[in-house]
Structures are given as C-alpha cells and as structure tokens.
C-alpha cells in the first residue's frame, strides 16, 4: 500500500502558512509537555518520600507559658498524665518541635573531640522515654531511653550541656561511621563533650526545612525541652486523631491559667505545608499543559476542517475519477501526519534544549529520554485524533460535487 506522499507534499508546499503554524504549535506543545511531565514526576517522587514516622496519627500541641507563676515540672507532669490517660492515645511525649514542622533545632557532632574527624549536622528532637514510640519510628539497633535517663531542661546557666546518650538515624550513623557499626560509639559536640550512640533508628524525616542539607539527619536526645518553648507530641489510634485533638484543645486551653495553647496541629497538616509549593507547581503544570494540548489539538482540528472545506470541489473530483472514501481519509491523515512529524522534529530539539537549559539554570537532573519518546507518541496520537473527524467529513463529500459549478 502506497501512502501517496508526493501529492500531499506538493499540495502542502503550495499552502505552507497554515501547516507551518500548526507545526510550530505542535513543537511548543511537545517541548512543554515533555519538560512539564518530567518536572511533575520529580515532584511526585519528592512528595511520596516516606517520613518513616506515624505521620497520619500524630499531632503536636504547642504551649506558651507567660507568667512567673508557671511551674514547668508540675505542669508537664499533669499534662502528660492527662494526655496519656486519654482513651485511644497510644503514647505521648514532650518535644522541642513537631516533626515536619517549620521550626526545630540543629547542632553539629564530630567523631573526635576538638571538632575533628567526621562531622554531621543533626536536627535533634529533645524527648522523653516515650519519644520513640510516640514518633512511631522503627528502632534498628540498640534501645530507646529509660525514664531515669531523661535530663531536666536546659536553663540559661547550662546551655552548653550535651546529653550522655544519643539516638541517631541510620543516615547519621553512616555519615559519622562509614562501614562500621555506630552503636556504642562516642560522638562529640562542638565543645568536645562526649555522647554515646545508644540507638539507631530508621531514616525518619525531621523538621520540614526544605532547604536543609539532609532531612533525615535526625537525632533524639533524652532531655526535657523548654528554653525555646516546647510541644507535646501525641500519637493516637488510627482514625481517632481529629476527635482527640479537639478534646485536648478544649481541656488544655483552660487547665492552666499561666500558659496558653498556641496551636494544636496534626503532623499531616505540617506535611501538607511542607509540600505545598511542590503540589501547587504540579497542579499548575498539569493544568497548563492540558490546556496547551487542548488548544493545539483544536488548532489541528481547525486547520484540517478548513482544508477540507476549501478543497470540497477537488475531493469531489477525486471521488468522481475513482478514489475510494478510504483514499480521501488517508490523504488527510497523511497530510496531518506530515505536519505533525515536522512539528515533532522541531519540538524534540526544543524539548531537549529547554531540558538542558533548565538543568543548567536550576540544577535539575537532565531530561530523561523516555519522557521524550512518550511525548512524541502522545502528540502524534493527538494529531491523528484531531484530524480524524475532518478527514471522515471529507470522505463523505459526494462525487457529484465535481459536476456542480459552485
């Protein structure tokens, strides 16, 4: 079967403008589609990183003391007893910050005193003995903290104090002690004070600092938090979180006149906040790309429709001298195929150029060629689909048209 490309080409060359316009639309659409899908895919991958904590059933309560009458020890004791006594609460702990939240603390540890050896920046959570269970993070080696190991909070007179034990994520352990078992090893803070690694946990995501060097460089310290404010972290049974949040808010906001509850917020909420820009970028890219494809396919459809109506008489003549309906359909599909292919060739170059430029400009990974292949196939298909209806309409032109004058 011959596709009879010669007459299609020579007719196209006579009426270039419309075809060139459509080809350019296809080229731009391809370039945008490929790069947009590539970027969206990266964002989805980023958003679906596991947090490795029980993020669906966790919430934080931020409290703020504001009078001199506030008694920290009594208040924390009372609040924790209340929270742990609630039905459907799995566990609760104090913490200096809420995981995936926007505020938190970090410090630097070394494998040798005097700031020598391997170095790791750790985002730390100061928690009590229920800390690990509250987070729901998996303990890989060692053990959690015991109640008697939890130190009192740092006060202005001992800010430089370190903790004698530390639980770190696997990622931290690997940075500090590559190819060794970090359990039981000693690390030092910037003042040279030692601490023993007594537990290694899964690579949980710590504070949601999007620009932080490694979100899973996290450590847990056996210490009560206070100096920069503190939170209660509460882990509930599945499905009970929101109801318990409401109860807790109501109770704690009136139970102690010397402090207020700044917020009661779920970790899921902070997670949404952390990925908000990525999600929005994805939504925006998908919307614009879809609209762009729609406009481009309407353009293809419009040109084909115009070509058909402008050539009604010629189609009739071809039909009258023996062309079958299928030949007419094929003519228009081949014409569309040629235009689309030309657009795709230009579009591939454009897509690669943009991808390259983006990777240079914004330190993105280089465009994966699979995306280009997928984009080419998609646009070819869209082109043929858009031309299908006008081509069918063309084949319905009656041979008798050839005999009429107008």
């Amino acid at each position: 079967m011959s596709l009879d490309i010669r007459p299609v080409v020579s007719s196209l060359l006579r009426n270039r403008t419309g075809a060139v316009l459509v080809a350019f639309q296809i080229a731009i659409a391809l370039a945008v589609l490929v790069n947009a899908v590539f970027i969206v895919h990266q964002r989805i991958e980023k958003m679906s990183r596991p947090t490795r904590i029980d993020d669906q059933n966790l919430f934080g309560v931020r409290t703020a003391e504001f009078t001199n009458r506030f008694n920290y020890d009594a208040s924390v004791h009372e609040d924790l007893a209340y929270l742990r006594g609630l039905p459907d609460v799995v566990s609760a702990s104090v913490s200096n910050s809420v995981p995936l939240g926007i505020s938190g603390s970090a410090t630097t540890v070394w494998t040798q005193p005097d700031n020598k050896g391997e170095r790791a920046q750790i985002n730390y959570f100061a928690m009590d003995e229920q800390g690990l269970n509250t987070l729901g993070v998996r303990l890989i080696a060692g053990r959690g903290f015991r109640a008697e190991e939890i130190l009192p909070p740092v006060t202005p007179t001992n800010t430089a104090d370190f903790v004698p034990q530390l639980i770190v994520t696997q990622a931290v352990a690997e940075v500090l002690f590559p190819h060794q078992n970090a359990l039981g090893k000693t690390v030092y803070d910037s003042w040279g004070k030692p601490s023993t690694i007594t537990g290694i946990i899964d690579n949980m995501i710590g504070t949601g600092w999007s620009g932080y060097e490694a979100l899973d460089h996290v450590a847990i310290m056996p210490r009560m938090p206070r100096m920069y404010g503190f939170d209660y972290l509460v882990r509930t049974k599945p499905g009970r979180r929101d109801a318990i949040m409401r109860t807790v808010e109501e109770h704690l906001s009136t139970s102690n006149p010397d402090r207020v509850i700044q917020y009661v917020r779920s970790v899921e909420y902070f997670k949404k906040l952390l990925y908000r820009d990525d999600r929005n970028m994805g939504v925006f890219l998908i919307t614009v790309t879809a609209l762009l494809l729609a406009v481009a396919s309407l353009g293809i459809f419009g040109l084909a429709t115009f070509n058909v109506s402008a050539r009604t008489k010629q189609i009739g003549t071809r039909r009258a001298v023996g062309a079958r309906r299928a030949d007419i359909v094929r003519y228009f599909m081949v014409e569309n195929g040629l235009i689309t292919t030309a657009g795709i060739v230009v579009g591939c170059a454009l897509a690669l150029a943009i991808g390259y430029w983006l990777s240079l400009q914004y330190q993105l990974p280089r465009l994966d060629l699979y995306y280009l292949v997928g984009g080419v196939l998609a646009l070819w298909l869209i082109g043929q689909l858009a031309a299908w209806q006008p081509a069918r309409k063309a084949s319905a032109v009656s041979p008798s048209v050839a005999t009429r004058t107008v």
Binding site: V32, P156, G299, G302, L358
Partner: protein
C-alpha cells in the same frame, strides 16, 4: 467609516460563530494564564518599598566559621542576621538617617477588654525608627521615642488586627495591656500594613504576615529571656552561662536595617563597618575574609532567594502557552479571511483600496482582541481564585488564625492595577500582531478572480 468596519466585523463573527468562539477562547486562555503567573510572580518578586530602594539597606557582616560559610548554597553571602553586640555597636552610629535593630518573639497578651482568653501573638522587639523607616501607617497614636532603644519603656504598638481583637477596634491609645504578664501602655495602633514579600525579616517565610505587636528594643536585656521566635544561628563553641553571655556571643539573631540618603553616607557607613571589622579582627573575631554588606531591598530579595525558581519557570511556560494560543489564532484568522476572500474581492472591485481592506480586517482583529482581553481577565480571576485556594492549608482544629499561615497569599486574590494594564496591553499587542499577516494577505487578493461566476 470605522463604525461601518465594525459592523462588517460583527457580520463576519456571525458568519463563523464556532471559529470566532475558538479564537476568542484561545486568546482569552493565553492572556489568563499569562496574567495569573505574572500576578504571582509580581507578588513574589515585587519590591514592596520600591520608593526607598536607594535609601534602605540591610546590614550584614560575615562573622562565621573560618572553615565553612553560613549558607553552603551561597558561600559568598554573609549570614542574613547580625550578632547582638555588632548590631548594638552599629546602632550607636549617627551616620544613618534612621536605623533599626530588631527580632521577633512569641508572647502572650492578656487584659484586653474584648478578649477574654489569653492571646498568643508574635512581637517585634525593635528600635524606634522602625515605623518611620518602613513607612508604616498609623491609625491611632504613634511609635515611641529613641529612649526606648536603650531603656525598657513599657509601651506597645498594636497592629490593626490585634487592636480589633483586644479592644474591638476603638482608639486604644492610653489603655494598658499585659504583655507576657507585664503591664504595657498602648501608644499606637497601626493601620492595615502587609508588605509582601515581608522583606524586613524573611525568617518565617517571605509570605508571612507582619507582627502582631511591637515593643521597644531596650527590653532585650531586662527580659533576660532567650529569643523564642525567628531564628538563632550559632557556629562557635562558646561558654554561655547567662543571658549576658548569650548577648556577647557570636550567635546571629537580630536583623538590622539602615536608611542612608546618599552615596556619601553609604560610603561612610561602609567605612564604619569595615573599621569596626578590622578592629574586632585584631581582637580575634571575624575569622573569615572581609564581607560587610549594605544591601538594598531589591538585591536583598534576590540574595535571599525570595523569588523561587518555580515562579520563573511558570512565567516561561505561560508565555509558551500564549505563543501557542497566538499561533492558533493566526492560523484560524488566515483561514477565515481567505475563506471570505470573495467578499473582499468584490469590495476591492467596487473601489476599496488595499489599505482599506487591510484596516477593515485589522479592526475585526482588534475587536476580537478587546473581547479576548476582557474574557481573559475573567478567566484569570477564576484562575487566581484557584491559586489562592491551593495555598490555603486547612487545619483540623482552628486554635489560632490559620490566616497567619496563608499570610501574604491573600494578596493573590485580586489583580493589581499593573497586572490589569499588562493584560490589556498583552492582549491587544499580541492579538493585533497575530492579525497583521492575515489582514495583509487578504489585502493582496486580486479582485478579478472573485468576480467570475465560478
């Protein structure tokens, strides 16, 4: 004549309603997407105090670790904040016309007549020039005098929003209120003020809302409390056993801005910083190479990465989208005009000049463009509403204003005048450009061909 051309254009629209709608839709969508992205971009990159761009400068000095910069991604930048001791030293200078040293705190207000429960708020602890320097509008009263820069004067300025919560919006100047259980006298209430991005302190994000209340910087020492808001960043292992030790440490946690009216004062300020730096370096501080900066607001926003790469990409994509829409329009216009070439041919034969045919068709395009711009603004408004909805993150229990976290995104609910202007310009220019070639082509039609009966 033009009225006649307009009537002809309307007739032509009616002849192919489908094609007309397609063109209109394409132009409107292209405009809408461009305007949306540009509004967002504008809101993020806009300099909210542009009229002082050659007067306001952020003061930064690199006091960081000799072995690594504060921000590894921007190793050439000094830390965005100053140590307390450096800020207080520079505050003593009389070179700047105005000078501000400040930081944010979390605190609690009680004793408002309209507010029963204690109210958690963010407080800006700042020197007195803050209000005049950043052109902050007052509804009632004013700020405090320079005495508050050194002394713990118990005066407080409330934002409009907090005044509404605490006092039901009345003129509360002269009333007292308890701030962290200390008695303060209200001296001023601000009018609505929300610079976006919040250039003067980017710690809580560029789109965060301004602070709730303001108290004098002289309170810093007597409060004897570590900062519990904003950001505190330390690099040096120092012995800190008292709050006074902390104030003398190399931790950065205060923001400093100065107003320098001319080049001479800028040079003198730079000289003062460099001289102080050299002196301190002799005493063993400032181990990194000299990097003392006075940065204007525009450059500050760039340095601090306020405009995200995403926003730039989106503007690029929006213009690619507009290009496709316009190519589409050119194609359809060309087809449409050539389809109706017979009419143009007859008009030519009856004496219309090429120019007149050209102008007639251009007017048709112009009308299309105008309609496209109006429709585009409508679509754009819908789109912005969608963008705004995307940025609101709902919380399960609304203990505090969730609006706090949406902050400056509120600004995205409406177009500013500049965006509307650009929308109309963009629509007209681009649609007319798209119509130029088809209108020219149709003007070249040889009339004789169309006078035959065929």
């Amino acid at each position: 004549m033009y009225a006649y051309y307009m009537r002809l254009a309307l007739k032509s629209f009616r002849r192919n309603p489908g094609l007309t709608a397609l063109m209109l839709g394409a132009i409107a969508l292209g405009i809408a997407v461009c305007i949306m992205t540009m509004t967002v971009y504008h809101a993020m990159s806009g300099n909210p105090i542009w009229w002082k761009n050659d007067r306001l400068y952020a003061v930064t000095m690199d006091n960081w670790d000799p072995s690594r910069p504060e921000d590894r991604q921007h190793p050439d930048l000094p830390p965005p904040q100053l140590t307390y001791k450096d800020a207080v030293y520079l505050l003593g200078s009389h070179i700047p016309e105005r000078k501000v040293v400040m930081y944010a705190r979390q605190s609690v207000l009680t004793g408002g007549v309209a507010q029963r429960k204690p109210l958690p708020v963010t407080t800006r602890v700042t020197t007195s020039d803050f209000f005049a320097m950043f052109d902050v509008p007052f509804l009632y009263g004013s700020g405090w005098d320079a005495g508050g820069d050194q002394n713990a004067t118990p005066v407080i300025v409330l934002s409009k929003q907090q005044n509404e919560k605490l006092f039901g919006g009345i003129n509360s100047v002269g009333r007292t209120i308890r701030w962290d259980d200390r008695e303060f006298r209200v001296v001023g209430v601000l009018d609505a003020w929300s610079p976006t991005p919040r250039f003067y302190d980017l710690n809580d994000g560029a789109f965060s809302t301004p602070d709730d209340v303001y108290i004098p910087f002289g309170w810093t020492r007597p409060l004897d409390q570590y900062p519990n808001g904003g950001s505190t960043d330390c690099w040096k292992p120092e012995t800190v056993n008292t709050f006074a030790d902390f104030l003398g440490s190399d931790c950065v946690w205060t923001q400093m801005w100065v107003e320098l009216p001319n080049k001479a004062s800028r040079e003198r300020m730079q000289g003062l910083m460099d001289g102080y730096w050299a002196e301190q370096r002799k005493a063993g501080r400032f181990p990194r190479p000299r990097n003392n900066r006075l940065t204007n607001v525009g450059q500050w926003l760039k340095d601090q990465g306020v405009v995200q790469n995403d926003n730039r990409m989106l503007v690029g994509i929006a213009f690619a989208f507009l290009a496709v829409c316009l190519l589409n329009t050119v194609g359809i216009l060309l087809a449409k005009f050539l389809n109706a070439a017979a009419i143009a041919g007859v008009r030519r034969a009856l004496g219309a000049s090429r120019r007149q045919i050209f102008i007639q068709h251009l007017i048709e395009v112009g009308m299309l463009a105008a309609a496209g711009a109006v429709l585009g603004l409508g679509f754009g408004a819908l789109g912005l509403w969608g963008v705004h909805a995307l940025y609101v993150t709902k919380n399960e229990v609304d203990t505090v204003d969730v609006a706090n976290l949406t902050g400056g995104y509120q600004q995205l609910t409406h177009f500013d005048a500049i965006s509307v202007f650009w929308a109309v310009m963009l629509a007209m220019v681009s649609a007319l450009a798209a119509g130029l070639y088809p209108a020219w082509r149709i003007g070249r039609v040889a009339p004789a061909v169309y006078l035959k009966s065929q």
